[in-house]
Symmetry: C2
Subunit: 477 residues, 2 copies
């Protein structure tokens, strides 16, 4: 086992992340700044991930008060915390073994919270039934997806299993699929049409897979990451019909469901659209829908809480889903509690409601403002072009790099957009992700950055980016 | 994908847990008790897992005060919490993105905590060097092990990859190995010798694998789960020489390192023993050592924090270890903070020290008492025989079931010890795990229960078990 050649070939085939070199350099620069090395910036702006707290967004008081009380129940003895905070903490602790967040939970999660999630889904989807037995809480939604793929990907099939995956697509999904030895069948989203998913492209992609792999599933993410596109009901109906016709499993990543900013955009779940389409589709199409405590105004990424709801999956297969999830014992209790707080926020009349409303509205207003400003600035910079950001946590502008920059990147052994990001990091102290990581049409280049920041951070980011970009284009003209 | 036959055959080969039927029934009984159904017991005692808080052990105040302060930093403005609690919370938050536990961390964990772990290991191992770059924090140690197995298990090799695994062995490890399509090569621990690992048995097991699989790794767990055995230095040296000679990777599960109760027992890490053996062994043997925040006096299972340290692994392979860990983004921040608090507890002179010392000593005294009482009672019951419990979190007594009971179990389609556990649950309201789950010598039967409980819980458990067992033996004599 001491040599690379002997390790799991699926793992060996996993794309090595170019982004790692950026992260390493960023952490060196942080160190240099701490040591007083002089640079043209005094701090680093890291908007490479969808990580609102890192970018200065404040946690919600209600969420943190309840969690602190769950950790240290003595806090509930004082009157300093609102009564609904104390009641909620008491209620949540009743679901924990021995009344402690330090106890293991059931494999699928704390029963009371799983039931809450099921009720939330039914409410959200206009009454479409949800069964708690089909819900699994996990240490982040990505982890649910990987576990489900472990069931779906048949390593011994010939040809190998294929999964239809958008391009661009955030990298942890593509890495999971590759790591399991499945083939990625990219379907390209149409950038010129605001990164729309087009059904003809799904047909083309599936056709292209013939003889190469055995497609078993279609992965969609709505609202999009990195694209910021929000799907229309009509588009979702088309996807559902395609998936049914081709006998695929639909993996619907809906973690950004609370992040919709477009004036004409609206989030509708695949489960709801499926239910509306009625039998036989609604009784047969196999669907997994993912949600997370990391996104939305709460943005508790570090707590690691996500869930999957499975629809129309064969009971015999469900047993194995249970077994696979059970190998990791359970999701972190804190992430589970966070899910409960996300789906059952304070209601009008509750003592915590006014502050909760103020804080969430502030975040929403800020993000809408950030999106507007980012689009204004980006689309005014020569060489930049950014599609509308209707939802999600990111802007994903295209950057038209000059041939001399592309040549220079080649010389230093980097992808052109990684090269651009590295210069941006070095010269302006801004960490963003290169489009190459996500998959993009040959010859196009992009950057991705988080729009869930404070207004000040966004303004400073856009100022640094504009000034850097102008100089970069001059240097390589 | 709608039928079982189409799913991943490795997953299909995963043993379905008989234990699940016990857990289901336990949760029905809990429900019945809540609804006032009359039984001979008024509450359930669940000692099936290694879950101290569930079994009534209280969380450590220092740990919970710091974590609550990290969640709700306003708590640090009051003087109600000790100053070292506030200082520690401030220090920990400085390592979090944006000063929030809600931010993603690096893939390997919060850098400051990874460095703390590395210093802890060096201290623990008498100065043997530890490099922070070889440490990965994860959502529980089991998760690190699965990730590492994902790198080690080569699905395409012929014959398939094999992993030497103890029998008995706790089930999540064996499930992980099976789920990845590797072959389990059981080596039997010697019950009559206190569940000692005997080197001749390793040779026999390896020999038996010839032609069936390609053995790449040896998994050991010390102190043992479920056995409670603590390995001697001499035994560890033998294991290291065996692993080196057979060119295996050594997976050392050391999560119970703080749980040693035997008067003559002492925990020594494999890393330390390896370092003491000197070159060439200490420079070449590939080792992974696992530790966890779930075990020991802290017992914060629900927070999901564990880590692995890798030793002598090829740098080319390490890159893929990083990639595999990165697919799940990062471990929960709370679990990471808990690890820091575990390895850097309050020191003499700190305001929190007296209470911390009192609480941990109370837990230790309680467990030592519980072990003594459990052994006394079990070994006085006809048909029971329990080896000394030198460490870990469990007693794993052998139970000699009467032929009539074995016959009855067969009739109802259960393993004999599952049948015994089901009756114990039904009639006495006590949930323990059947030995069948762990692997045991043909014709032997065991039960496993947690010894990290309060004194009252242990006394009540032993009272119910004695009375049930006496009646059971009578019924099936």
């Amino acid at each position: 086992m001491s040599v690379l050649q002997e390790i799991n070939p699926n793992v060996r085939n996993m794309k090595q992340l170019e982004f790692v070199v950026l992260v390493r350099r960023a952490s060196q620069i942080r160190e240099e700044l701490t040591q007083g090395v002089r640079k043209s910036y005094k701090d680093m702006i890291d908007v490479s991930g969808g990580d609102p707290h890192r970018a200065g967004v404040k946690p919600l008081s209600f969420v943190r008060q309840v969690l602190a009380s769950c950790f240290y129940p003595q806090l509930m003895n004082s009157n300093e915390l609102p009564v609904d905070v104390r009641q909620r903490a008491q209620k949540l602790l009743r679901g924990c073994g021995g009344g402690s967040v330090g106890a293991y939970t059931n494999t699928a999660g704390i029963s009371e919270i799983v039931e809450s999630i099921s009720e939330f889904i039914t409410r959200r989807d206009g009454g479409a039934q949800s069964n708690p037995e089909n819900i699994y809480i996990s240490s982040g939604s990505q982890w649910s997806l990987t576990n489900l793929l472990r069931v779906l990907v048949n390593n011994e099939s010939s040809p190998i299993t294929g999964v239809l995956t958008p391009a661009p697509c955030h990298v942890s999904t593509t890495l999971s699929i590759m790591g399991l030895g499945a083939h990625i069948i990219p379907y390209y989203l149409n950038e010129e049409q605001g990164w729309e998913l087009q059904i003809e492209e799904l047909h083309r992609a599936l056709e292209s897979a013939k003889g190469i792999c055995n497609p078993v599933a279609l992965y969609v993410i709505n609202p999009g990451n990195p694209t910021g596109h929000v799907q229309s009901r009509k588009s979702m109906q088309e996807v559902i019909r395609f998936v049914s016709e081709k006998k695929l499993f639909l993996l619907a990543d809906e973690v950004y469901q609370d992040c919709v900013y477009g004036e004409k955009s609206e989030f509708v779940s695949y489960k709801r659209v499926l239910a509306e389409m009625g039998p036989p589709l609604s009784d047969t199409l196999e669907l997994a829908s993912f949600h997370s405590a990391s996104k939305g105004p709460m943005g508790e990424c570090g707590l690691r809480g996500g869930y999957v709801e499975l629809v129309n999956v064969d009971p015999d297969v469900m047993k194995y889903v249970y077994t696979v999830f059970s190998t990791d014992t359970c999701a972190p209790a804190t992430g589970q509690l966070a899910l409960d707080l996300m789906i059952n926020p304070p209601q009008p009349g509750d003592p915590s409601y006014p502050l909760y409303r103020e804080e969430t509205q502030h975040i929403r207003t800020t993000v809408v403002h950030n999106v507007k400003r980012a689009l204004e600035v980006l689309n005014s910079l020569p060489g930049f072009c950014c599609q509308p950001v209707e939802g999600g946590a990111f802007a994903f502008p295209r950057v038209h790099l000059p041939p001399k920059a592309i040549q220079k990147a080649k010389e230093v052994g980097m992808q052109p957009d990684t090269f651009y990001c590295m210069r941006l990091l070095e010269e302006a102290g801004v960490l963003v992700s290169p489009g190459y990581e996500f998959g993009q049409k040959e010859g196009t280049h992009h950057i991705r950055f988080c729009i869930m920041t404070t207004v000040d951070t966004m303004e400073e980011l856009l100022r640094r980016l504009s000034s850097f970009h102008t100089q970069f284009m001059k240097d390589f003209s």
